[in-house]
């Protein structure tokens, strides 16, 4: 089984979630992080609003889903479409990390692996 972790813009999370469900994933979870990639940081106020500092890391959300190996490409494709802003995409649109999962167990039943997804 395959774990797909997508770091995306927080405002895109709802679209990505919809895309995942449409793609047929069995589940997912979402969390908020601060991240930095190619994207420049933003200027935020410090010093009570008179001066600013550049904040390198920006708010991002990570959505993680574990899927059967054969769904991998479809899911990645779905995320790419949902997370990309504009035709061309923009810096800060995010990244997808794919890795192997050795086992999955459903807590409720103890079912294992693909049948637990």
């Amino acid at each position: 089984m395959i774990k797909i972790e997508a770091v995306v813009r927080p405002e895109r999370i709802n679209l990505v979630v919809e895309a995942l469900i449409e793609a047929g994933v069995g589940g997912y979870h979402v969390l908020n992080v601060s991240g930095k990639g190619a994207q420049q940081g933003v200027e935020v106020f410090t010093g009570r609003g008179a001066t600013t500092t550049v904040r390198a890391a920006l708010p991002k959300s990570i959505i993680t889903t574990v899927v059967k190996a054969d769904m991998k490409d479809a899911v990645i494709e779905a995320i790419l479409i949902a997370a990309r802003t504009g035709e061309e995409g923009q810096i800060g649109d995010g990244k997808i990390f794919v890795s192997q999962v050795a086992e999955v167990i459903r807590v409720r039943t103890g079912e294992k692996d693909e049948s637990a997804l």
């Binding site: 410090t46 010093g47 500092t53």
Partner: protein, 404 residues
């Protein structure tokens, strides 16, 4: 005893007391998430410690008839302070009401200082500092300015609601304290406030409470109170507008924290003037306060001196401008705009005296506290790194996770 004035003084006192939790939120929102309880507690605990000090000896030393420089011990433990008559203050309002009102000022003044030392000052030492500073710095200056036999009062310096006693005093003490406790670790790039809504809540409460602060300072429910109320609101509003406009000019954005700071700066500046100027004077004072404090904050950041929450820039500079502006814009023929420079001169004397005295005595107090075994100004490096909340207060401000 006029029941309307009593009602207003009680209410004004409650409002000024409420400013201290307001300040706790203003400051608490500005720090990082690991020092929230600590920052809030610096203010909140003053409501405990200073109230007790004031009842036991503070009021007596501040308002007893002891001469030009300090009161006496006649009213220790509020003995002989009448709740119905007016032996001490000679206002229409009973002495005890005035003494209560003044207590609230003594509570908030040292709390203001803590903005400079936030995120690193040792809490137990701070408690001792509170007692010492109120006794040796606040009380004498309050006597000079407001007691009938105080030397600045007799000189003719005008400080309606505490520009020198409260704001300049706190601003200068903040500089000394920030200097002696030293710079925080790892804040060179500036600290992003961890909770902006708390900052706005704090500013909202301060603005609300400041009506008591200023419009209560005439000690009666009358036209002077009404006028002080109006100019207080007007200066705060004007300075708020100035701050967001300047912020927009410099960065293209309009900071919520900046709006809060502008409002507070306007409130600070109008404080000494609030009994003496009209609405257009208030607009001028608010405008000047906005500009001066905005650039003061920027300069402070360039210098890198770690007055963490800009106490000097906002209260020090704002207060000095207010004291001078009182001399400029006072109506009734006593202000510079009316061709009379006397008050301006007296107020400059008052400002210089306050700066000098506050600087020296705060310095001495902190130097002594620094060497007393078991005290010392600064929390340990570990405590600072992990956050003062967990280290010194045994609490995390927010518990978001389910673990444990």
């Amino acid at each position: 005893m006029d029941s309307g004035s009593v009602a207003w003084m009680l209410m004004a006192s409650a409002l000024v007391l409420f400013m201290t939790p307001g300040l706790a939120f203003l400051y608490g929102g500005l720090v990082r998430g690991k020092n929230v309880v600590s920052t809030v507690m610096y203010s909140f605990v003053s409501m405990g410690v200073v109230s007790v000090v004031w009842v036991l000896w503070g009021y007596s030393l501040a308002f007893g008839e002891g001469g030009s420089f300090i009161g006496n011990f006649d009213y220790l433990g509020f003995k002989g302070v009448s709740s119905t008559g007016t032996d001490i203050h000679g206002a229409g309002t009973p002495d005890m009401a005035v003494a209560i009102f003044q207590m609230m000022f003594a509570i908030i003044t040292p709390a203001l200082i803590t903005g400079a030392i936030a995120e690193r000052f040792k809490f137990t030492t701070y408690l001792v500092f509170l007692v010492a500073w109120v006794t040796f710095v606040y009380v004498p200056i309050a006597h000079w300015v407001w007691a009938g036999d105080g030397w600045l009062f007799e000189l003719g310096a005008l400080d309606f609601a505490g520009g020198t006693v409260v704001h300049i005093n706190a601003g200068i003490a903040a500089v000394v304290a920030a200097w002696l406790v030293g710079k925080r670790r790892g804040v060179d790039r500036g600290v992003e406030p961890h909770n902006v809504p708390f900052v706005i809540l704090g500013a909202g409460i301060l603005w609300f409470g400041w009506f008591g602060f200023n419009a209560g300072s005439g000690l009666a429910s009358d036209g002077l109170a009404i006028s002080a109320f109006l100019v207080t609101n007007t200066a705060a509003a004007m300075a708020l507008v100035v701050w967001i406009v300047l912020g927009h000019i410099h960065t293209g954005k309009m900071s919520g924290v900046g709006a809060a700071t502008g409002a507070v700066a306007g409130l600070v500046a109008i404080t000494p003037a609030s009994g003496f100027v009209g609405p257009m004077g208030a607009i001028a004072i608010g405008f000047g306060a906005g500009v001066l404090t905005f650039y003061a904050v920027r300069i402070r950041h360039k210098i890198g001196f770690d007055d963490a929450l800009e106490v000097m820039a906002v209260h020090g500079i704002g207060g000095i401008w207010g004291a001078i502006a009182t001399g400029i814009f006072a109506v009734g023929g006593i202000g510079l705009v009316n061709g009379d420079a006397k008050v301006l001169g007296y107020n400059v004397v008052a400002v210089l005296a306050t700066i000098t005295y506050s600087f020296i005595v705060t310095f001495v107090i902190l130097k002594i506290l620094d060497v007393i075994p078991g005290l010392g100004l600064r929390a340990t490096r570990e405590a600072e790194d992990a956050g003062l909340d967990v280290s010194l207060h045994g609490e995390r401000a927010y518990v978001g996770d389910g673990a444990d």
